[in-house]
């Protein structure tokens, strides 16, 4: 059984992370300006967030799944952190209600979703729906992953040792809390532990007081799942995950001391309220579960603003997240076409800055993660710029404005191609760096290319003819060809595989040098358009 459990856990984790990646990537593609504006309107007020959180948990039945769907939307730029937090509160509050009501098994729905989404994703006839299908497939895999993990460990809940562990806590409230937490983490479901506690309490094996602490512990234990799954996250994604984790810990911090106050001082609190509301033991425990999920929600909702500040302090935005956020193009940016064009230009300059940051990342050997992060940050910001360009092109513009827009589109295309080339170059250089020879080439290539890129940045910002001439000289030189020839002629140091790697890397370098030169010329062409206007 243990091998089956371990295999289910591994498979479930793998499905979960692939599902999250799929969901994020496809939401990015869907994350057009109009959809972002719509979501922004629907979650503008925190109370709206509470409502949507309740809807989401009703559909997902899993606080962990909801948290990671929100993280996917955050990473794709669809939502901001302050919009996700009220939704998480609503999710947890409504999760307490789920124990009270019958809900249908969504596993069948998830399987149908996977089937339909998979068919649409691979169907040539449904190409137009590929992005939505991809996002739906990601959600399905995320659920399948969680369900696989839960299904794999579910038999544990029926084992004698599981029931025995719960009974072992009899008489010790704190032990009941810890056992509830551990069991909830192992079976990955606070619901399973709460339901079993109800059964044991109804069988007379637990008193209400003992059951209350087991329920509290079970809810805290489920937060450990989110903590473990979010261990590799950072920045704003981590803020959202830790808010969910904090939710249940906050409940324990508030309610466990109150429990002891009630038990040892006789002050009527949760237990008294529960007994007053119902004589049925199962309902009493369900009410306790509801109270645990509700009270931290009220407290955290009232402390949203300081909560956001605290999250930012402990898990600040990463460099990549800062880079990917638009600074000039936002929902209230100017509607005047000429100003909008200028804002697009300014935002494109930030794209060049991200490319220079990519070179910074490449300087550190083995730092693939940061290079990937900047690569993704570029794509996120780039999609915002493309949306703005697309919006603008649908308006009535003057001839000069159209010309300028056309050149900005060319610049956009060149920069996007450069982003991809830099990423591929990073892969090739990392492979080359295994030898001292290859490492030297990697270092000189990075510095040489970064120097040219910095000159392009000067041209983009200042449009000075002097800088443009210098950039032209730098990108017309045959210097790279000379360097490549020198390396290849030192045959004794390079085997055939290394030679191929060197050729591949230098090809990417050549394309980048050409792209930087072309982009510089297009920028100077912008200057001509502006002067003509």
């Amino acid at each position: 059984m243990l091998i089956t459990v371990a295999a289910s856990l591994m498979a479930g984790l793998g499905l979960f992370f692939v599902g999250l990646h799929f969901l994020t990537e496809h939401l990015k593609m869907l994350s057009g300006r109009r959809l972002r504006e719509r979501i922004s309107i629907l979650t503008r007020h925190p109370l709206q967030g509470l409502f949507w959180g309740g809807i989401l948990i009703g559909i997902t039945q899993s606080t962990a799944a909801t948290t990671f769907i929100l993280i996917g939307m955050l990473r794709s730029g669809m939502m901001k952190v302050r919009q996700t937090l009220p939704i998480i509160i609503g999710t947890n509050m409504a999760a307490g209600i789920i124990v009270l009501i019958l809900v249908f098994d969504i596993k069948i729905g998830v399987l149908f979703l996977l089937g339909l989404a998979g068919f649409l994703y691979t169907s040539e006839k449904a190409r137009g729906m590929r992005t939505i299908a991809g996002a739906a497939f990601g959600i399905g895999m995320l659920f399948l992953g969680l369900s696989t993990m839960q299904g794999g460990v579910a038999p544990l809940a029926n084992t004698p040792w599981f029931e025995g562990a719960l009974q072992w806590t009899k008489g010790s409230y704190l032990l009941g809390f810890f056992i509830g937490a551990c069991l909830s983490f192992v079976v990955q479901s606070s619901l399973a532990v709460v339901v079993l506690t109800i059964a044991l309490e109804q069988a007379g094996l637990f008193s209400l007081s003992e059951a209350i602490m087991v329920v509290y512990g079970a809810n805290v234990g489920s937060s450990f799942l989110t903590m473990v799954l979010s261990s590799s996250l950072s920045g704003q994604s981590k803020q959202v995950a830790m808010f969910q984790t904090t939710y249940n810990f906050a409940g324990a911090v508030i309610l466990v001391p109150l429990f002891y106050l009630e038990i040892y001082s006789g002050v009527p609190l949760v237990k008294a309220v529960t007994e007053a509301m119902s004589q049925n033991s199962g309902t009493q425990i369900a009410i306790v579960n509801l109270i645990f999920n509700f009270i931290p929600g009220v407290v955290l909702f009232l402390m949203l603003a300081p909560g956001v500040r605290l999250l930012k302090r402990f898990w600040p935005e990463t460099l990549e997240e800062q880079a990917s956020k638009p600074k000039y193009l936002h929902e209230h940016a100017s509607t005047d076409p000429l100003t909008a064009l200028h804002l697009i230009e300014l935002e494109q300059t930030r794209l060049i800055k991200i490319l220079t940051s990519s070179f910074d990342a490449m300087r550190e050997r083995g730092n693939r993660a940061q290079l990937s992060a900047f690569h993704e940050a570029f794509k996120t910001l780039s999609s915002v710029i493309r949306d703005a360009v697309s919006d603008l092109s649908s308006r009535h513009l003057s001839t000069e404005a159209y010309e300028k827009l056309d050149r900005l589109l060319n610049i956009q295309h060149s920069l996007e191609t450069s982003n991809n080339e830099i990423y591929r170059l990073g892969e090739k250089l990392e492979a080359l760096r295994q030898t001292p020879f290859g490492n030297r080439f990697a270092k000189v290539a990075i510095e040489g290319l970064d120097t040219i890129l910095l000159m392009l940045m000067d041209v983009a910002k200042g449009r000075s003819v002097q800088y443009a001439k210098m950039l032209n000289v730098m990108t017309s030189e045959e210097g790279l060809a000379r360097v490549r020839k020198a390396y290849l002629s030192e045959e004794s140091e390079l085997d055939s595989a290394a030679r191929m790697q060197l050729l591949a890397a230098s090809n990417h370098c050549e394309r980048l040098i050409w792209l930087f030169g072309e982009t510089g010329e297009t920028y100077m062409g912008l200057e001509v358009v502006q002067e003509a206007a």
Binding site: T451, M470, V473, M474
Partner: protein, 110 residues
């Protein structure tokens, strides 16, 4: 990083030792700016003891060259090692700046 200066006729020969990168470029820039403010119009950078140069270091050279040109002066560079020469070649600085193999050649007709 160590910077030493000597005078050869009306040319300031500046020798930098170590790596000219992000960490040391501001100090190098500051020293070169000081020389210009003291009236130097011809500066020769002897790169014999420079092990490596980064994009930040190249930007220092470029900025100094531009300032000197504006004052009617000139910057020359000599004695690049293999690695530094490769960075110059790839970035196009071999054409952008006056680069010489030796100090003697750099000083002739300066």
């Amino acid at each position: 990083m160590e910077i030493t200066t000597k005078d050869v006729n009306d040319v300031k020969v500046v020798q930098i030792e170590g790596e000219l990168d992000t960490g040391s470029s501001s100090e190098a820039q500051s020293q070169l700016d000081q020389l210009r403010e003291q009236g130097a119009k011809k500066i020769l950078l002897d790169m014999t003891k420079i092990d490596f140069i980064s994009s930040a270091g190249l930007r220092v050279l470029l900025a100094t060259a531009q300032e000197l040109r504006g004052d009617g002066g000139e910057l020359r560079v000599c004695s690049l090692n293999k690695t530094v020469k490769e960075v110059f070649d790839i970035s196009g600085f071999s054409t952008l700046l006056m680069v010489f193999d030796t100090e003697e050649r750099a000083l002739s007709n300066f």
